[in-house]
């Protein structure tokens, strides 16, 4: 269970205070595949950072998988993330001098596992995300965008976390690769019961997620506002589908 209670986050930009999140309250039950949507600057990534323990709120409470994150120190949060959260970024952010397998092994360095076991788990994770074995020892620079994102997802799941957070995971991919990545995340959610929170602008994600939360100007939309946002998205998705159908 992810629970945010009356959470606010402000940033100082020069003389101005930017309210990135303004008294947001949100609950996402265990094992759900949730999407956070909204225009740029609406606070999606800030919200994602708070519920993944990357950032701390100025006000309010954040609780994930029964652990209250508010009040934990930077190092305590790091230790918690290493064990409980898997992260996927828009630009994959793999270490360019490490092979695909070594990139996936990276979070396991923070565990007590021995070398051979780390290697075995990394290979299992790479098989789960469907990367062909011949690619395991290749450097990220020699892989396609879709393959790199698969490696990044393998890195996110290799520690068997409770929660996977993905920030625009399809933002840098072509349509085919984006569909494959969304399908993969959905499969991880269904088969391995991983809670996934996705920040995206990609309307294709609506086909895969269980719930969508709309943000605008640091506020979580609710009631009529949320309904209108969903309808707008549904219309946009319908248009996109029709457009896709008429394409040769």
């Amino acid at each position: 269970m992810i629970r945010l209670l009356n959470v606010s986050r402000h940033f100082q930009r020069g003389p101005d205070v930017v309210r990135a999140l303004d008294h947001v309250t949100l609950t996402i039950p265990d094992g759900r595949f949730a999407a956070l949507m909204g225009p740029s600057g609406s606070g999606k990534s800030t919200l994602l950072n708070l519920l993944s323990g990357i950032d701390r709120p100025d006000e309010g409470e954040v609780e994930v998988a029964g652990r209250r994150l508010t009040g934990l120190s930077e190092d305590e949060l790091a230790a918690w993330r290493a064990r409980h959260v898997g992260l996927v970024f828009q630009f994959y952010n793999l270490i360019p001098v490490l092979s695909a397998r070594e990139n996936v092994e990276l979070p396991l360095l923070l565990t007590d596992l021995r070398g051979p076991e780390r290697r075995r788990r990394a290979e299992v994770a790479l098989e789960v995300v469907g990367l062909v074995q011949e690619r395991f020892d290749q450097l990220p620079g020699t892989l396609s965008g879709g393959e790199q994102q698969r490696v990044a997802i393998a890195r996110a799941i290799v520690t068997d976390p409770d929660l996977i957070v993905a920030d625009e995971p399809t933002g840098d991919l072509d349509a085919q690769s984006a569909d494959a990545v969304l399908a993969l995340l959905s499969e991880l959610n269904r088969e391995f019961h991983k809670a996934i929170v996705l920040v995206t602008h990609d309307l294709r994600a609506l086909r895969w997620v269980d719930e969508v939360h709309h943000l605008d100007k640091g506020r979580l939309l609710a009631g009529d506002e949320a309904l209108r946002a969903s309808e707008t998205l549904e219309q946009a998705l319908g248009t996109a589908r029709r457009h896709a159908k008429v394409k040769p």
Binding site: A78, I95, V97, L98, L109
Partner: protein, 390 residues
């Protein structure tokens, strides 16, 4: 894959930069080790060329002032003196002005006793006494001009209006003989000067051999007392103190060289720190990702510092060992005489202690250069690091 892999793989990015940084550290440690040999090298040089039972007597007013030649007989009569010779600078050049080397007129009968540890061939000493134009020449000077025993050479004095022809009768042999000196009989110079109507009643210095090193102080006092209140009072000093005072004029230069050497090392620290800083800044996105994955601040600090320290230490070891090897090689080359200019380098040896100091210095370079940028990158909160790079 382990932390060692992670550190070593990071060296493979920007290979040229890694190589250039390593080379700059290597060269600075090489230089630091080389300049560290200066004080001990100069001391060893003094130790090598001096004897505990030899005393040098000169005019109290300074080395450029002469003493009457009659002083020599009075000095020889002082109790404790076993041998003595006058020692006068001739200022001779061979062939052309650039070929100036130390050449002195001495009393031929004393050479074997005064410089007994030179281990001059007895036949050469006998010939030196027999031939009034005989000369004993240091081994490096012999090699420099490709002279051999029996050769005849002419020296043109730069202070007296005379040219003297010599026959080389022997060598001041290595390793104990003075490598540069050219010694010849004072009688020969005296005749030449008299022929020009010049007086030769002078001695630039007087070398004295004392019977026992324990008596050196007493003998020096007796000699100086002997000439007190005369027109040319004397100042006696041990050979060691004479060379030390001569070398002290070089110690200022030595200190300057030491200071420059360490300034170079300091400059390398700054350059390395700048390089590390740039390298870490370029990797800011990766460091942010490592933090997001759960790597703690001290783990990241450790990884970054390990990289810097490995680079500095590895380069430092190579630089220090290279200094050890190169100076040893130069010393060996100098000893062969193939390159006479390298001769004194045999005293300037990098010792294992210098190597250790060089390696420790490289560690300091690594810590100082790495700690600020590494800590700056490690301590930044993960959210701030991610916001800055994405």
């Amino acid at each position: 894959m382990n932390y060692r892999t992670l550190v070593s793989r990071n060296f493979s990015r920007g290979r040229l930069r890694t190589v250039l940084t390593a080379a700059s550290i290597m060269l600075s440690i090489f230089l630091a080790c080389a300049v560290l040999t200066l004080p001990s090298g100069l001391a060893a040089l003094v130790e090598r060329v001096t004897s505990g039972s030899r005393v040098l007597v000169h005019n109290k007013a300074g080395l450029s002032y002469m003493m009457p030649y009659s002083y020599l007989q009075k000095v020889r009569a002082v109790p404790g003196v076993t041998a003595a010779t006058s020692f006068s600078w001739f200022g001779g050049i061979y062939d052309e002005p650039k070929n100036l080397f130390p050449n002195f007129a001495i009393d031929a009968d004393a050479v074997g006793d005064i410089w007994a540890e030179f281990q001059i061939d007895p036949q050469a000493i006998a010939d030196f006494r027999r031939y009034r134009d005989g000369a004993l020449v240091g081994y490096q000077t012999m090699r420099k001009f490709r002279w051999k025993i029996g050769d005849r050479v002419t020296l043109r004095s730069t202070i007296w209006p005379v040219d003297l022809d010599f026959r080389i009768v022997g060598v001041l042999p290595e390793p104990h003989g003075n490598p540069m000196w050219f010694l010849f009989s004072r009688t020969y110079m005296e005749e030449a000067l008299r022929a020009k109507g010049l007086s030769a009643d002078f001695a630039g210095m007087i070398w004295v051999r004392v019977d026992d090193p324990a008596n050196v102080g007493t003998v020096m006092r007796r000699i100086d007392d002997l000439f007190r209140n005369s027109d040319a009072e004397t100042a006696s000093e041990t050979e060691k103190s004479f060379f030390e005072s001569f070398m002290s004029s070089l110690s200022g230069l030595s200190n300057v060289i030491l200071a420059v050497g360490f300034l170079v090392a300091a400059a390398v620290v700054v350059i390395t720190a700048n390089t590390c800083s740039m390298a870490i800044r370029e990797r800011a996105p990766e460091i942010a990702i490592l933090k997001a994955l759960g790597f703690r601040r001290f783990t990241i600090l450790g990884l970054l510092l390990t990289e810097t320290l490995t680079l500095a230490l590895g380069s430092g070891v190579i630089g220090a060992v290279a200094a050890y090897g190169v100076l040893k090689l130069l010393a060996a080359l100098g000893a062969t005489g193939a390159r006479p200019g390298l001769g004194p380098l045999s005293m300037f040896l990098v010792t294992p202690w210098h190597v250790l100091e060089g390696i420790l210095l490289s560690l300091v370079v690594g810590v100082v250069a790495g700690v600020v940028p590494s800590w700056g990158a490690a301590r930044k909160p993960v959210a701030e690091a991610l916001r800055e790079v994405f």
